[in-house]
């Protein structure tokens, strides 16, 4: 469990060192549509990509596209951290990147639709502001894909 009190001192300190002040300005946008009308993209920081895509470098602010129409079981992970377990992801891609669950929600009409393309960053080794250029680029691509909302997953 990631309750800091349960972790060894060095892991607690390592994770607490990642506390950062809010980037600001506040980015609150209220939902203007019901969930059943939202077009949703998944964005993960798990360092995922398809086998033929370039692997992430040790510290890397770029992102990889993940087509909604390709088989997510073909995704691999080149995250540089050694501080988390990957065996669960080996068993089930949805444990980290819940694409099948979102496809089920789409077919049930719980959400409106899924983006054509989802995205993966690799969250390690850099400060939040290092991702600003990539994040702005990604925002433009999400707009072009008519995405209303993003579902973010860490690893």
């Amino acid at each position: 469990m990631v309750r800091l009190a349960d972790l060894p001192d060095y892991e607690r300190e390592h994770l607490l060192a990642k506390n950062m002040p809010p980037l600001g300005p506040a980015a609150w946008v209220a939902s203007e549509k019901p969930l059943a009308e939202l077009r949703i993209a998944l964005v993960t920081t798990a360092g995922l990509h398809f086998r033929n895509d370039p692997a992430f470098k040790f510290a890397d602010a770029t992102f990889r596209p993940i087509s909604n129409h390709e088989n997510a079981d073909d995704l691999i992970m080149s995250h540089s951290s050694v501080n988390f377990d990957r065996s669960g992801f080996a068993e089930d891609v949805n444990l980290v990147y819940p694409i099948d669950r979102f496809k089920e929600l789409e077919s049930q009409g719980v959400i409106g639709s899924l983006a054509n393309v989802h995205y993966s960053f690799m969250g390690a080794g850099l400060m939040p502001e290092d991702y600003q250029h990539s994040a702005s680029q990604l925002a433009g691509m999400l707009k072009k894909d008519r995405v209303d909302a993003v579902f973010l997953t860490p690893v």
Binding site: M1, V2, L4, P8, Y10, E11, L15, K18, N19, M20, P21, P22, A26, A27, W28, V29, S31, L35, L38, R51, A55, K57, F58, D73, D74, I76, M77, S78, S80, S81, V82, N83, F84, D85, R86, S87, G88, F89, A90, E91, D92, N94, L95, V96, P98, D100, R101, F102, E104, L105, I111, P128, D148, A149, V150, F151, L152, T153, P154, V155
Partner: protein, 227 residues
């Protein structure tokens, strides 16, 4: 607009993203449980529910821990690692033998996962990876000229071992799994030896830290103390 999952509550509280659901799951498992669609749907629903908040930032806690996994999984390890009994002298020989004991299990696990494997980030075969890692140890050299390949290759090798150890479809406790890997395998010995050599080389200290987790050193220390 965004909603999402946070694995470290303190991080989310400090950065204050618009909507965040903290989940009490281990790192690497943001949806909680592998192959449990119902549980995963509950987590997703809780995060999507945050779209109904009128004000933000909002940080909610998911109420349930992930179901506890079996603790006897360590007994289900399919391979008996015999690193102390081997008479082979070179790393090439010893690691090669260990790899051969794992291959049938990796093949079995891969078939169970319908051909899925997370290996291949380095674009090298497992045989080539093991051969080159052993070469560094046998020749007392360091991979200074190919650090990017080396990092990906070590992750591929670890992944190969973990996929072999989980060839059977039972629920694996990740702590047991990593304890087996870090305390019983020759590959772990090899990685730790290489990491130690890298950490004492000027300019490569940080790199050594992304080869072996600190927790692995604790596991080995506790294992030795109990031996």
């Amino acid at each position: 607009m965004t909603t999402g999952i946070s694995l470290v509550r303190e991080n989310a509280a400090s950065m204050a993203p618009p909507r965040s659901l903290w989940v009490p799951f281990p790192l690497g498992r943001p949806l909680g449980v592998a192959n449990d669609p119902d549980f995963q749907h509950r987590v997703i629903a809780a995060a999507l529910e945050l779209f109904n908040s009128n004000h933000g930032p909002v940080l909610e806690d998911f109420p349930d821990d992930a179901p506890i996994q079996q603790t006897e999984s360590a007994l289900a390890c399919p391979v008996t690692f015999i690193k102390s009994a081997t008479t082979a002298t070179s790393w090439q020989d010893r690691l090669g033998r260990e790899l051969n004991t794992l291959k049938p299990w990796h093949d079995l696990g891969k078939r169970r996962r319908n051909g899925r494997t997370l290996t291949g980030v380095s674009n090298s075969s497992i045989d080539e990876i093991i051969q080159r890692l052993a070469e560094y140890l046998d020749t007392a050299t360091l991979p200074s000229a190919e650090l990017a390949w080396f990092k990906h290759a070590t992750e591929d090798a670890k992944t190969y071992y973990l996929e072999a150890l989980t060839a059977q479809p039972d629920e694996q406790d990740p702590d047991n799994l990593h304890k087996i890997f870090w305390t019983q395998t020759l590959l772990a010995d090899a990685l730790i030896m290489l990491a130690e050599q890298l950490s004492s080389t000027i300019g490569l200290e940080q790199f050594a830290r992304i080869l072996v987790p600190r927790r692995a050193l604790d596991m080995r220390a506790n294992f030795s103390a109990a031996d």
